[in-house]
Amino acid sequence: MLRKLSIVAFAAMLAAAPLPVLAQSKKDSVVMAMALEPPGLDPTNAAAAAIAEVTLYNIYETLTKINEDGSVSPLLAESWTASPDLKTYTFKLHKGVKFHNGEPFDSAAVKFSFERNGAPTSTNKDKSLYQAFEKVEAPDADTVVITLKYGEPNLPFLLGQASGSIVEPKSAATNVTQPVGTGPYQLSAWAKGSSITLSKWAGYRNASAIKLSKVTIRFISDPAAQAAALLSGDVDAFPRVAAQRTLAQFKADPRFNVMVGGSRAKTIVGINEKKKPLDDVRVRRAILAAIDRKAMIDGAVDGFGTPIGSFYVPGALGYVDTTGINPYDPEKAKKLLAEAGVTTPLELSLKLPPPSYARQGGEILAAQLAKVGIVAKIENVEWAQWLSQVFAANGPHNYDLTIVSHVEPFDLVKITEPDYYLGYNNEAFNALYKQIVATPDEAGRAKLLGDAQRMLATDAVAGFLYQPQLITITNKKLKGVWKEVPQFENDFSTWYWE
């Protein structure tokens, strides 16, 4: 009897075997690589952009979705309406959506997520936005009403970021290692230091539209290794690859699709305004006057950048060119330092995070500052150290200068935060920002945004360097990968093999 059964089982296995073989012949998995490994997988409790690159729109979803062109479309919310003063938003939620653990997605989950983001103990990177929510109401299971303390014209956009991911109340605490969301993918493996594997979730509301059943994300920080991984075919796609120096080779190779896209990122020299003598605007202007942006762009990112003069980028609403406000002028820099009564050489610490734009940019910055009598002492630090020593809101802000790229779109609000690492804290600017968000009409807002940019440039709040252009290289047969990068994310639901 047992023997018969095993024969039947064997026959059944044989019969079933051709099916997976057939399925494999049509390629449905992708190996993607990115430079940095995320510290965890909860985008609502940490600032690292790498978390969003893995999770946003894949594991977690948001009420709205930011598209490749920067426009906003519905995702977990079917539709929304705003009051004329832009203080009250009403979101109608998608019905019948479930979380990976089987719990229903409803207005209670949204209310829980947003209130958690704005809680006093929250470490959400957009905490200030959620603290500006006067109340989040859930009149019924499919409706959420958000009332803000001020008008926020960009709310639908802002809620489409990873920090606005909707989490499930019971599993929220363990999302760092066991993420539970409503997205089309689930975490299936995480080999720390090497790769993360996501697999398609069969229970997704629109599962048939998701083409890739498995995505492996590898972490390769070294630029030479990044190029080698692509060339050898180990990696099918590398968004935001550090291949500025090997671009010609990839362009000439018919196996690859090379895309150079814009970004909303701003690479800046962070200046700690809480420290003497950097609290003196003349010293900060001197630093800016010592910086040759063109050399910086050519040297640090091999020319892939557009100069900026403020915390705002070309292509955004109300952009004005402020690069002429503190232009490159080493003689003026020396004069400004003398005026401020600074004895040269002035020694400043320059803490650099790992990416090549920072490390290479740091050497160039140090050489440029040396010419006006500022000795920048380079300290190369790891991300964890950089976040805790330089950036963390509750951290010591123990630095004089740093170089970093702020990849978040529309983050002028950061400058108004009292414990932001730049330490600007200017009442006039904060008032102006309040006025901007309280102005519903675009033309009026654009004008005020222009004023804000000019104010930041004039006060030399930071050494505003350039808007980086980001390079994405993919296998030519892989389609649906975004070229433009309004925010750092990889939407696997749009990817497919030709």
Binding site: A224, T246, A295, G299, E363, N380
Partner: protein
């Protein structure tokens, strides 16, 4: 009873030494290469074709020309100037680190050999223990505590040298302590300290000199490795290891950028090793007599 004056303590007449040395192939080649590196380091103190840290982005990655003999790197810095200044960093780290290792290693080895017993046991077990930590590992530990930098790497390499030199000193010194002339000195009433200074140390000096050249080569390699990993000499100070690191991303574009510092490290290490080989042959009386 007459006592033979110990053979090895009698210094080789300088003229004889040099006559033999100049005929010794590996000594001459090693000496020449080492002198070349030393000369480059000394020259960089007074002159380099261009200021080694001056960045000129407009002329980055230039091929060799009359103005830049070996071309420029990705920041437009002159390669020749960087190599010269890098030699200075390398030699400085080497000298200080080997001095640290030599001072502590020889002292500990001599003490162990002179005292014997528990003292020797403790010192030698401590040396065994520290052998377990290679230079890179101790540098990473030190960097975590004190932050990466030239001083950290010097200290790490220095510490890494101590156990080797301790073992060597103790082993060679023990052999000397067993010799008849030491017995005679003890019979004549000389103390352990005096015997160590007057008889033991001079007799192991030639062994130490040979070992120092080898340790120096190891220190250069360790410095380059640490700087390559970003734990050693910090920018903008030039260093061969960091040049290699910078060249890494440009391997496809300008492979020569990696060849130059690599060749410099190879020349320095090869030179010192050949010099050490030569010195061993020349200073070891047994080998000298066999010839």
């Amino acid at each position: 009873m007459t006592i033979d004056a110990p053979l090895a303590t009698r210094p080789l007449p300088a003229r004889t030494f040099w006559r033999r040395a100049l005929r010794h192939r590996s000594f001459v080649l090693g000496g020449a290469l080492s002198l070349l590196v030393l000369a480059a380091a000394l020259l960089s103190l007074v002159w380099t074709p261009w200021p080694p840290t001056e960045i000129d982005i407009a002329s980055k990655l230039r091929p060799p020309s009359a103005a830049h003999w070996l071309g420029t790197d990705s920041f437009g810095r002159d390669i020749v100037s960087l190599l010269l200044a890098g030699a200075r960093s390398t030699i400085m780290v080497g000298i200080i680190a080997v001095s640290i290792g030599l001072t502590f290693g020889v002292c500990l080895g001599l003490i162990a050999s002179a005292k014997r017993g528990w003292t020797e046991e403790i010192i030698m077990r401590f040396a065994d223990f520290s052998f377990a930590f290679p230079a890179v590992l101790s540098a990473i530990m030190l960097a975590a505590v004190a932050g990466p930098g030239m001083v950290t790497s010097i200290v790490a390499i220095g510490i890494f040298q101590i156990p080797t030199l301790t073992r060597l000193t103790r082993g060679s010194a023990n052999a000397i302590w067993a010799r008849e002339f030491v017995l005679a000195a003890r019979a004549a009433g000389k103390g352990r300290f005096r015997i160590t200074i007057e008889h033991v140390l001079p007799n192991i000096l030639s062994i130490l000199i040979v070992q120092v050249t080898i340790q120096f080569a190891l220190a250069i390699l360790a410095e380059a490795a640490l700087s390559y990993l970003g734990l050693g000499t910090q920018p903008p100070q030039p260093s061969w290891g960091r040049m290699l690191n910078d060249a890494q991303t440009l391997l496809f574009q300008s492979p020569m950028l990696a060849v130059y510092p690599g060749a410099a490290i190879a020349i320095a290490v090869l030179g010192l090793n050949l010099l050490g080989d030569g010195l061993r042959d020349l200073l070891d009386p047994r080998l000298a007599r066999e010839r």
